[in-house]
Assembly symmetry: C2
Homo-oligomer: 218 residues x 2
């Protein structure tokens, strides 16, 4: 399985304690986005590909990235896509990833974090969404497509929140501490702090759109 780690520019203090501790399979290759490439090099990890406009890097930092990374992708500074969208596209479409785990998505610019969540609802990324995780020190996000999904507990995460990233008309949560009867909303609602019933999976049902499941710990 080709499992790509996509490192964005968010601060290191919000990364998971062990970069590969909370994921299901080992990372087989890394892609760095903007300052994320430099952060990987500082940890002794050389990304196979670097993506970005690199405008947040000083010349010496940029030179270090260019010297170390063979496959440099230069995005124009004025572009429609964010660097993280480009990184995700490169990971799936050029590098043919089976799964992508995104690091460094939090603690930085919130407009970027929200891109990273909401881009899963874009038609071009929707098919990839179930194969993407976003991880930081306290959270692990998965994305679910209709009509019905089992959401399994994960060791170390006592809470699970669900967010309808898109409008829903019949979203329900079953077999959870706080079940949700079929629910409708034309905007996102964050159903925070739900909990699993022991080792049993929660079941979510919905007929369209996309739901984010946020595993978290205090």
């Amino acid at each position: 399985m080709k499992h790509i780690g996509l490192m964005l520019g968010g601060p290191e203090e919000l990364w998971p304690a062990q970069l590969a501790s909370d994921i299901d399979a080992p990372i087989t290759a890394w892609v760095g986005v903007d300052r994320g490439s430099l952060r990987l090099l500082e940890r002794g990890i050389t990304p196979v590909t670097a993506v970005g406009d690199y405008d947040s890097l000083k010349p010496a930092e940029r030179h270090r990235v260019e010297h170390a990374v063979h496959d440099m992708r230069y995005a124009p500074p004025e572009k429609d896509d964010t660097d993280s969208e480009l990184g995700l596209q490169v990971a799936f479409e050029d590098l043919r990833a089976d799964a992508v785990t995104i690091f460094g998505a939090t603690g930085g610019r919130l407009d970027h974090l929200l891109v990273n969540l909401f881009m899963m609802a874009e038609p071009r990324f929707k098919a990839y969404a179930p194969h993407i995780a976003v991880v930081d020190r306290q959270n692990l996000i998965r994305f679910f497509l209709p009509p019905a999904q089992l959401v399994w507990p994960r060791t170390g995460y006592p809470y699970i929140g669900f967010v309808n990233l898109t409008p829903v008309t019949d979203f329900s949560i079953r077999n959870a501490k706080y079940p949700l009867m079929p629910f409708a909303s034309d905007y996102p609602v964050s159903w925070a702090s739900n909990e699993f019933l022991g080792e049993q999976p929660i079941q979510i049902l919905f007929s369209k759109g996309i739901i984010a499941g946020i595993y978290s710990k205090d």
Copy 2:
């Protein structure tokens, strides 16, 4: 003007360098939510009111809060509202705030952060939304209601992103580096990394829903 600072439980390293540096008016009183109350006390600030179920505090920490804060509000651990929703309600409805600035909303649990953004779209909070700011080390979020708003530049924030928290049919951005022609989407889109034209305000137009404006810096 009664300007309440609402301190949530997110980590201190993501707070603004000076707690009151990026806001428009001095904080006249503080409300602490859960661990936020303890964090304020550690900075020598005594909140007028503490809100939460305090289940993330050790007994000695909880005792310290109870000893210092006169107005303690105890939320049941199993409740429909999150602690930050309760804090916002107390600030506006009981303490009659004219404005609320929220700190400590980022870097912690993402289901909570998303509650803090999306609750502005709830009917009960919508009228308050234009009087609320969310601030951290790199971001300042304001909330805008229809039909047309001027969004002014702020010193120190080179970027401005816009997110339709609700469906939009005719959202446009004018007088910005990247104008947006009337745009429709039934889910949120994060229009990241826009910029002001010098000292001029950006104009946003939309007929319903609520738009978040995220000022940010690298």
